[in-house]
Symmetry: C2
Subunit: 341 residues, 2 copies
């Protein structure tokens, strides 16, 4: 019998189609290796003068060598100059696309997959994320900093051959962030507990969706995941803001993230994936509630979404996803992949 599962935070129902369920192998996509014949070019290395450095972490003994560098994105979608200028056009609302659209170059090497970076390199990436959130949060025009990554192993789709993330600083809170905040608030008002803390507690007890755990973090197969092998990484200590995470915990965060990314790479033939970091909005005053309550009810986390299936009109139209891989089977499969970290 297929099962309908409700996401406990945002209330989205997902069809877990156990009878159509596919073995992990059936979901593996063949990578278009036309790329093998393409001589790989890296726009960041070849046209370095076109990328103005915003900030970087460098080797203290050799200032020429960067570890992690932030640059503006070419073809940025938002512009840092100008005013937000909210206006109406009849019943419609518009504002200028003010914001920042930055690229975090996560390694000086031509390593595309974050899974292949050394742990100390990933630690540095998290430090840089924190620096950028803190810096951008001082800009009064901005309300949210969304950090995300779209990885694909297909070289023909990469103009830059470094592992990299995007930072999008926006003058509005994104809809899905608002939905998560609203869901967490509702749960807290009823239970007087954080829904994410409750999820961690229950997942540890049940075990069937727990993929990995260390002293500070858990990685779970999402109970109502929209995509096969969708995972969530959560800090065990309650904390609404990623940029308040103590830096000494970055090593454990790097370890659990690298481990699950390697499991995807090894177990599923190096699939494309997306990662999104969800942290509380830094400008609490704009939310219609006491700002302290958000500290209690929201809990930062990372979503990892492998791209193995295609979504089409039904999912977009209904907000109703179909996942052919029961999350418990996905967890079992990933747990058993040894990556020797």
């Amino acid at each position: 019998m297929p099962e309908l599962r409700r996401d406990p935070v945002v209330g989205r129902w997902v069809i877990i189609s156990q009878e159509r369920s596919k073995r992990p192998k059936d979901l593996i996509v063949e990578i278009n290796n036309d790329s093998a014949n393409v001589s790989p070019a890296c726009d960041f290395c070849d046209n370095r003068n076109e990328y103005k450095e915003i900030v970087s972490l460098r080797d203290p003994n050799n200032k020429e060598k960067f570890y992690v560098m932030v640059v503006p994105r070419k073809n940025h979608l938002l512009k840092i100059e100008g005013e937000v200028n909210r206006k109406g056009r009849g019943l419609y609302d518009i504002m200028e696309g003010v914001g920042a659209h930055e690229l975090v170059i996560e390694t000086p090497e031509h390593t595309l997959n974050m899974a292949d970076l050394p742990l100390e390199q990933i630690d540095k990436v998290f430090s840089v994320f924190t620096m950028r959130i803190k810096e951008l949060s001082t800009d009064n025009r901005l309300k949210y900093v969304m950090i995300y990554k779209n990885y694909t192993p297909d070289i023909s789709k990469n103009t830059i051959l470094h592992s990299r993330s995007n930072i999008m600083a926006m003058p509005v809170n994104p809809k899905r962030v608002k939905e998560k905040l609203a869901g967490a608030k509702k749960y807290y008002e009823y239970h007087e507990r954080c829904v994410f803390c409750d999820i961690i507690r229950q997942e540890k007890e049940m075990g069937v969706r727990l993929i990995e755990e260390n002293d500070d973090f858990v990685a779970i197969s999402a109970f109502a995941g929209r995509f096969p092998f969708e995972m969530t990484i959560l800090p065990k200590a309650h904390n609404a803001d990623f940029h308040h995470c103590p830096p000494e915990k970055f090593r454990n965060l790097s370890a659990i993230l690298k481990s699950v990314l390697l499991k995807l790479k090894v177990g599923l033939n190096d699939p494309a994936y997306s990662i999104v970091l969800f942290s509380a909005p830094f400008r609490r005053g704009y939310l219609s509630r006491p700002s302290s309550s958000l500290n209690e009810d929201f809990h930062w986390h990372i979503e990892i979404m492998p791209q193995l299936t295609r979504t089409a009109g039904f999912e977009w139209g209904s907000g109703f996803y179909i996942n052919p891989m029961p999350p418990e089977d996905a967890a079992e499969f990933l747990k058993n992949i040894e990556v020797g970290l």
Copy 2:
């Protein structure tokens, strides 16, 4: 300057990236024509005995000949037998996947694109949709009937070579339907007017996003469309429920739908597209408000989403879409394509 636009119903912000804006030609996808070498097989015709007829419209003079037929979907995602059986698993909510998953075979011919069906055939498809919604709404376990279509011209991705739609009858109201209902209600409470009626009025006045209009319907390029060339068809007469649309209006609905689908086919090289029909939930009693209010504030409509761009982690993560085609330019382009209807 890029522009941020807010959807007036669901409140989703979309980045309209005018500077990255592409000419329509740049968005055309080459169709993988491996299909040309594949001998096309139609599972519906070849294995007809495996498809049990649920209902059909037939030629009154030749009962052997069907016009439109509804059959259960093979690999259906929901099952019609059993009880919904809502239950908890710790903090999680689950229910059995009870519902109906049906296929509407929209033509006896091997015509894949609805754009190529005669008008009188499309009229019949709408009659069948109405029949199925009315029939399924008598099942107490069900709350919503979602009708949608995923079209692709790539023959290798079609196991059935007839134009067809899906009917998914569900025991819950889908999240996006609930969001539309909530947004429409909020607008109505403030303005005491239907937001969709206001959209029609404003789009007719402004003209820049109006693609086509007849006595009963308008087709507009969505102001805050998520996808290039996203369109909405709305009935001019206020009406919450598609299945209460007077059948004598089906001809005008068929005409406007066929026209915009032909414009896509001719103007954009026969792209894949999805269509979703949004009608009010038939089981009003379950909504936490007087059921009559929904008659005033909701307005059925059809969303048409061509599949020209790929969505990835950022869109999924943030609910924040990037549309490289300004809706006014899309409207201008489509308006000028003559399809001789």
